[in-house]
């Protein structure tokens, strides 16, 4: 190289340009951080306020200057339990657990078929699944009510199990399909050369790979089933009422019992939060393969 420079390179001052750029970048990061916090607090605050209110006396709960400092009490929770939350909790558990299990039982094979064994009309089947979610629930409640009434299944928790299964199945199949599609086709081909029957391939090879996806799907189903209100309020009464129905009981004609409603709502939210927390570990495992490359 015959390039001559007036100053040898190693005595040069460190280059100046990178500095401002880094500053600019960190300024942008600060702003993004601020926005993230604002949005986060905006979402979290109502939940926080609900939990806070549930420990208040009814008189502290609804004041024009909201009270942050107060004497905490478990009175509201006692009230909720004495109002008979037990059966509602059990109903919600039955509806959620059984509908989610049914969804997985029916949805996993369906998702396997539409993703890894596609046929000519698979796209149509997928569209049919999702099309069932396009109709508003209000539009079908009357026929559903009539049918349920005719077969004598009103105010029966198993009615809700069936309805919630139907409600969650399309979403679950679509969700799980995207996870199944991540499974390398060679694994299935290898399994077929190795002589593994279909159910064994599914159980021993495919499911372990996509288990985080299955957990995510199950969690979504649990949340939807647990929070479902419209079917529950229209098709159940004293026997089969679920937690959302129980909550409405605190909105009475004599007025709102804010503190007690908050306590009941906190109780209703707790299982879902717990389920999410438990599933979290499974979810963050991510879809790491190790089979490919």
């Amino acid at each position: 190289m015959a390039i001559t420079t007036s100053t040898p390179p190693d005595t040069q001052e460190p280059a100046a340009p990178p500095e401002p750029r880094r500053q600019k970048r960190s300024a942008a990061n600060v702003w993004l951080g601020v926005i993230a916090w604002v949005v986060g607090i905006a979402f979290f605050f109502p939940v926080f306020w609900m939990v806070l209110t549930s420990f208040k006396q009814e008189t502290d709960a609804y004041t024009t200057t909201p009270k942050i400092i107060f004497e905490p009490t478990l009175e509201q929770y006692e009230g909720v339990f004495s109002a008979g939350v037990g059966p509602y909790l059990v109903n919600s558990l039955i509806a959620t657990v059984f509908s989610t299990l049914l969804v997985l039982l029916l949805g996993i094979p369906a998702a396997f078929a539409v993703s890894l064994r596609p046929v000519k009309k698979t796209q149509d089947v997928l569209f049919f699944f999702i099309s069932t979610k396009m109709l508003p629930v209000v539009a079908v409640i009357v026929p559903i009510y009539v049918v349920v009434n005719q077969i004598g299944m009103l105010d029966n928790i198993w009615t809700l199990v069936v309805l919630y299964t139907g409600m969650n199945l399309p979403i679950a199949v679509w969700m799980m399909r995207s996870f199944f599609l991540e499974v390398p086709g060679e694994l299935l081909e290898q399994a077929s050369i190795d002589g593994a029957p279909l159910w064994r391939t599914l159980r021993e090879i495919v499911l372990p790979i996509i288990s985080p996806g299955i957990f995510a799907t199950a969690l979504i189903c649990v949340i939807f089933a647990w929070n479902e209100f419209f079917f529950a309020v229209n098709l159940t009464a004293a026997n089969a009422g679920t937690m959302p129905v129980f909550l409405v009981g605190f909105i009475t004609s004599e007025g709102l019992y804010w503190a007690q409603l908050s306590a009941a709502a906190t109780l209703a939210a707790l299982p879902v939060i717990l389920a999410g927390w438990v599933a979290q570990n499974k979810l963050v495992q991510g879809l790491s393969f190790g089979a490919v490359k």
């Binding site: 390398p184 399994a191 050369i193 190795d194 021993e204 790491s288 190790g290």
Partner: protein, 363 residues
């Protein structure tokens, strides 16, 4: 151990369209390693998958050890396959991966364990048996995939670009290992690759495919010395053969102002064609001094020099016809640089002559 026969085997993805594999005729002798080589889309992988039972055979037949396997499912063909991405079961350990095909065949546990141990020893995997594939290097994963194929003791090994995901050094090392192992086990093997070096170094015989059709099926030296058409000539060998389209002259062809005589049988076969495609391998140019008589050498100007140590490759264009480029092998430490003139002469005994229209070898 078995003979594998493709008998007019075809795979047609969409009726009416060009077949992915077109009437393939190929016999893999018992114990041979046959390499299917060709560019992307040549049908080599499809042919292998037809043999594996992963693609249907739409016409013709495929026989393993004399048995027509067209309607036989993969698991009953007594084959083992190694995929490019190895297809190891991620939730199973190395030992479980290797034992899985045996387990599916209902082999007793002790026998399974013993076979896995033997194979692991042979492949240097003994200390990794309890690991998951995730915790292995690329080369180790490749060996696990090989091990899973070996423990089966199948009649045929199928390998679909098994070295493509390895780095260059590992690839050369594993290439030799696979060839050595195949020799020792004497299991008929069909090996697919797009890398002609792998094909030439590993294959007892090599099948060159292009556009779904078999171009030539021969031993590596035969492919190199007598390529049947211009495609095979250009595909086998690195750097590729110089294929020059040249006008006829009275006794041969004209290149860069000089006359290159052709052997009698070639010019007879060429008949009245006024242009011919002449192939000269890089090593078949003779470097002459630049001061040589202008009538006997081709003058060229060097564009790039690839110095490899033991030899060098000179990429040059002709002085008279700058649109024609040639590659010339020179000695190591060649004293030639970009822009230098060189003078070359093709070795008249090593010319490959092809019909320019059809690409077929003459005669």
């Amino acid at each position: 151990m078995a003979e594998v026969v493709f008998d007019q085997a075809s795979r047609i993805y969409t009726p009416g369209a060009k077949p992915a594999v077109d009437s393939l005729d190929l016999t893999v002798a018992d114990g041979d390693l046959v390499v299917l080589v060709g560019p992307s889309g040549s049908g080599k992988s499809t042919a292998l998958r037809m043999l594996a039972g992963l693609e249907p055979i739409d016409a013709g037949s495929v026989r393993i050890d004399g048995r027509d396997v067209v309607d036989v499912p993969s698991k009953d063909r007594d084959i083992a396959m190694v995929f490019q991405n190895y297809a190891l079961y991620p939730s199973k350990t190395v030992a479980e991966n290797m034992a899985f095909p045996l387990k599916m065949r209902g082999m007793p546990k002790e026998e399974r364990a013993q076979r896995v141990r033997q194979a692991a020893e042979m492949l240097g995997l003994s200390e990794y048996l309890d690991r998951k594939p995730k915790a292995l290097s690329g080369g180790q994963r490749q060996r696990v995939a090989m091990g899973r194929a070996i423990v089966r003791e199948p009649q045929v090994f199928l390998m679909d670009e098994p070295l493509s995901n390895l780095d260059a050094k590992m690839r050369v090392q594993t290439r030799a290992q696979i060839a050595e192992m195949q020799n020792r086990l004497e299991v008929s093997t069909v090996y697919v690759t797009h890398d002609q070096v792998e094909a030439m170094t590993m294959g007892d015989k090599v099948a060159v495919l292009a556009d779904g059709k078999l171009q030539q099926y021969a031993t590596p030296p035969e492919l190199y010395d007598r390529p049947i058409n211009a495609f095979v000539a250009g595909f086998i060998g690195s750097p590729a053969m110089n294929l020059l389209e040249l006008p006829r002259s009275s006794s041969g062809v004209t290149l860069g102002g000089i006359e290159i005589p052709l052997p009698r049988d070639v010019s007879d076969a060429a008949g009245s064609r006024d242009r011919l495609t002449v192939g000269v391998r890089p090593e078949d140019w003779v470097l002459e001094s630049t001061g040589s008589d202008a009538g006997s050498v081709v003058k060229a100007v060097v564009d790039v020099v690839e110095e490899l140590g033991s030899e060098s490759y000179l990429y040059a264009h002709l002085a008279e016809d700058t649109s024609t480029s040639i590659v010339v092998r020179g000695p190591g430490r060649v004293q030639v640089r970009f822009g230098d003139p060189i003078a070359v002469r093709p070795n008249p005994d090593a010319l490959h002559v092809f019909d320019t229209e059809t690409g077929q070898r003459l005669p």
